[in-house]
């Protein structure tokens, strides 16, 4: 017993030492070149990019990029707000239009009017102070199971969902816990308005009467209740305009046609922004990174990694996206300041109407 104990202790001690040494070895830069600048890019957990592009950037500019995922969009932003003045990194990517006002009001970004803004459509530049620059956009739309509808007509807009014909077919996400859920709620608020004969509250009461299912997050809805995703029993789900091409790309075994399609009239536009954090020590390097994020090579890399569309007009879109989905021309949108002012009240009222 003594020997066994001693062996185990020795093993554990060695392993701990190896772990400690190993961790230092891994993240030290190989050779200390003159003046290596490392810029930290704080983002949400869903920021992905092809590594070669980052390496190319380092070769071209001498700037090393370190990625720091910090939770989902709201979490990452709140962390940055809490660390105002002593930022976690140099650049922040991942503020979306629902959080834009909160980010601008918190005064944690420093303005930068990048020359690449010339290549970005004006309608995406939601921040006139240039603290936050648009990088990509996507749409949260209703997805439906093509095969399930067959000859029957799928819903063509939001109002259809309250029809008895579509009873028990829809699954949505809780806007309190899910970004697409919130986007869908905002779409209904934009469509039906806050005042008048038929407001968004009436709409949601009707949806509830029509047996809408609510899940906490996107994956519980898509992989749990949605027919295509996970063998559930509901053929309508709130997801992204890029979900059909994703189904094709990640199909196993491969398929030719997307099993899902998008209801264009239900789409709500989401735009994601990048900004230089105030208080960074590497302002000019940070600005170069922002320029890089807006440049065509990286913009073309975005769709297949993050499943959104590039903001830069000159960036090409992959064929799968062109074949299997549409870029909605008339997506709904709400003023970011309105969203910030009313979000909590809207979510509370929604919870009252739908969940209680």
């Amino acid at each position: 017993m003594n020997r066994a104990f001693r062996t185990v202790v020795a093993l554990v001690a060695t392993a701990t030492l190896a772990a400690a040494c190993g961790s230092d070895g891994d993240d030290a830069t190989p050779a200390e070149e003159s003046d290596p600048v490392t810029v930290t890019l704080v983002s949400h957990d869903s920021f992905f990019v092809t590594e070669d592009l980052l390496l190319q950037f380092t070769e071209d500019t001498g700037i090393t990029v370190e990625l720091l995922p910090a939770g989902d969009a709201g979490e990452a932003l709140n962390q940055s707000i809490l660390s105002k003045g002593n930022p976690l990194g140099d650049v922040f990517f991942g503020v979306d239009n629902t959080f834009l006002s909160r980010a601008v009001n918190a005064e944690i970004f420093s303005a930068y009017e990048s020359p690449l803004l010339a290549e970005i459509p004006d309608e995406l530049e939601l921040d006139p102070t240039y603290q936050l620059l648009p990088v990509d956009f996507g749409d949260v739309c209703l997805n439906y199971d093509v095969a399930a509808y067959g000859d029957a007509t799928p819903p063509s807009d939001l109002a259809d969902l309250t029809d008895a014909a579509y009873e028990g077919q829809l699954v949505v996400q809780n806007p309190a816990t899910s970004s697409p859920g919130l986007a869908f709620l905002l779409a209904t608020i934009e469509e039906f308005g806050e005042e008048g004969d038929y407001t968004w509250r009436d709409y949601w009461s009707d949806l509830r009467a029509n047996d809408v299912a609510v899940q906490a997050g996107w994956s519980e809805a898509y992989y749990g209740d949605f027919t295509v995703g996970g063998g559930g029993d509901r053929p309508l789900v709130v997801s992204y305009a890029s979900s059909p091409p994703a189904e094709v790309i990640f199909a196993d075994p491969p398929i030719d046609e997307a099993p899902t399609a998008v209801v264009e009239a239900s789409c709500f536009r989401q735009v994601e922004f990048v900004g230089v954090l105030d208080g960074t020590e590497h302002e000019s390097a940070a600005r170069q990174l922002v320029d890089f994020l807006l440049s065509v090579p990286l913009q073309e890399d975005i769709p297949l990694n993050m499943f959104v569309f590039p903001a830069n007009e000159n960036a090409a879109i992959p064929q799968e996206f062109i074949d299997h989905t549409v870029v909605p021309t008339n997506s709904k949108a709400l003023d970011p300041a309105d969203i910030e002012a009313n979000r909590e009240r809207w979510i509370e009222e929604w919870t009252e109407i739908v969940l209680r």
Binding site: V49, F250, L355
Partner: protein
């Protein structure tokens, strides 16, 4: 142990606790509750008066009570069987029921969603009902009852029961009047832990309970992370912490009242071979039912990971190695395993050091300090991970302690959760060392330190290994606390699973399932290895 010695030994754990828990939590609470530098507690009144919040508090409480009751009810037969019978596969059974305890909720949530969904084997749709939540709670925690109560039961000297039977009591009466009171300490300990975990349950309630059910912990998360309403979050966090402290105090009182002097035998001596058909039936049915409860969700994961298109195969496991190589989203499975193991070793080293010293102080130390240390070190289990995570952010933000983006924060956070387990395992072992051995050593001239080194340490060495193994397993599956820390690019297995689950596509889901199975197997191996070392089987675990 003298007061001074207690203080010296407790210095390291106290320092760790103060630096990495008390200070960050106090910082974030202060940020929430201060108005222009003055403490403003008026928000307490608002929150307590709000019917919505009251409902949440009430729901949190009763679902924890019911979950605990159910877990005890379903775990007691298992505890009895494991402590009274010697049968083939006994060790494997005990290891298998422990695996769920350390699995991350994202994995368990998915498994249960499938199990209870319309496409699952049961055919009923129990998702988003309280039943799914309760079932998941039992699944997670039944091992606590089986191990804790089973361990204690196996050590009880059968003398008093035999005396009662001789005096004319029937089996049931003997159990009720003699055995049960003697089991109260371990029942109290098990109930406290199960209640603690179900009271602060977050992932399970979120995923399985659905949007309609909300606990204190999940509401704290929303208020902190989504709305940045730090004042409301502070109130909720404090209410939760106070409840946990209250719980621990009550548990300790119960334990002290019933502990008395138990005649103890090393376990194994109460066990006997299966003698007849009735024994076999009893053991078979208890083991069978418990296994179904525990293993079914795990099997669901395995099943899902092997389903490729319309057929079966190992394609998802192969794909783990190749999918989207060259992008920063690619987590090479071997890297994820390696990272998880590295963080695990780091966390275990910290937890054993801090927890070991704390255990010495608690087991040998005097009075109030020891008790306060015990309660304090349990607090991290009862505090919302969002609070702690954001606390790190604002407290540990200036050199020399700018750890906000350091990889070291991950093992530290894991260790905060692992230390309570180390204490729970090592303290009873320390207490079981026969005082006469120590006195004999002292009489023969050994200094207190030498007595510790040559008498105590060899005896508790096994419990240290068990404690270390537990801390390691907990670290492997930890996801909640680490998800609030801005972590550099060292994805762990739970992180990898979470990434796969965030994208549509059959191969993403399949790979998430494959990684979950890998995690399960790793955990089972660790737990089985721990059990190999538990020959003495003293202690609560």
């Amino acid at each position: 142990m003298s007061r001074g010695a207690t203080l010296a030994v407790a210095a390291v754990p106290l320092g760790f606790f103060a630096l990495f828990f008390a200070w960050p939590v106090a910082s974030i609470l202060w940020r929430g509750l201060n108005v222009d530098g003055q403490l403003d507690l008026s928000v307490f009144g608002d929150v307590v008066a709000d019917p919505f919040m009251r409902e949440i508090g009430w729901f949190t409480l009763w679902q924890a009570v019911v979950s605990t009751g159910l877990t005890i009810a379903l775990g007691l037969p298992g505890a009895y069987v494991v402590s009274h019978f010697e049968f083939r596969g006994r060790r494997l059974f005990r290891a298998l029921v422990t695996v769920p305890f350390v699995l991350p909720t994202v994995v368990v949530g998915t498994a249960f969603l499938v199990l209870f969904g319309p496409a699952g084997p049961l055919g009923w749709d129990l998702r988003q009902t309280i039943w799914a939540v309760l079932a998941a709670h039992v699944f997670f925690n039944v091992s606590v009852v089986i191990r804790t109560v089973g361990g204690a039961w196996g050590q009880l000297h059968p003398g008093p029961e035999e005396a009662a039977r001789v005096l004319g009591a029937n089996r049931l009466r003997a159990f009720w009047s003699v055995t049960l009171p003697r089991l109260v300490p371990s029942l109290a300990a098990a109930s406290a832990i199960v209640f603690l975990f179900t009271f602060t349950s977050f992932g399970v309630v979120l995923i399985l309970g659905g949007p309609g059910l909300s606990t204190l912990e999940s509401e704290t998360y929303f208020q902190t992370v989504r709305y940045l309403n730090l004042d409301v979050a502070a109130v909720l966090a404090m209410v939760q912490m106070l409840s946990v402290v209250l719980l621990l105090v009550v548990q300790r009182r119960l334990q002290q009242r019933y502990e008395g002097s138990q005649r103890v035998r090393s376990a194994g001596q109460r066990r006997r071979q299966l003698a007849n058909a009735r024994d076999r039936l009893l053991v078979g049915s208890v083991v069978g039912v418990t296994l179904i409860l525990v293993v079914a969700p795990l099997l669901v994961l395995v099943w899902r990971s092997l389903r490729v298109g319309d057929g079966w195969g190992l394609a998802h496991y192969d794909a783990l190695d190749e999918s989207r190589r060259g992008t920063t989203s690619f987590v090479e499975p071997i890297d994820a395993v390696f990272n998880s193991l590295r963080f695990g070793f780091g966390a275990t080293a910290i937890a054993l050091t801090v927890g070991g010293l704390a255990a010495v102080a608690i087991a040998r130390g005097h009075g109030r300090l020891a008790r306060a240390l015990d309660t304090s070190l349990m607090l991290p289990l009862g505090t919302s991970a969002a609070t702690v995570g954001f606390g790190f952010l604002i407290a540990l933000d200036s050199p020399p302690l700018d750890l906000r983006t350091s990889a070291w924060l991950v093992p530290i956070a894991h260790a905060l959760v692992g230390v309570p387990f180390v204490i729970r395992i090592v303290v009873p072992a320390l207490r079981s060392v026969d005082e006469r051995l120590r006195s004999a050593a002292q009489v023969l001239g050994a200094s207190p330190a030498r007595v510790f080194r040559e008498v105590d340490l060899p005896i508790v060495s096994r419990s240290l290994i068990v404690a270390g193994g537990f801390a390691f397993a907990v670290s492997l599956g930890e996801f909640g606390a680490t998800s609030f820390i801005a972590r550099p690019q060292y994805p762990t297995i739970p992180t990898a699973i979470f990434r796969f689950l965030g994208q549509p596509g059959a191969s993403n889901l399949g790979q998430a399932m494959a990684m979950s199975v890998i995690l399960m197997v790793l955990t089972a191996v660790v737990v089985l290895a721990i059990d190999r070392f538990r020959l003495g089987e003293f202690g609560e675990w």
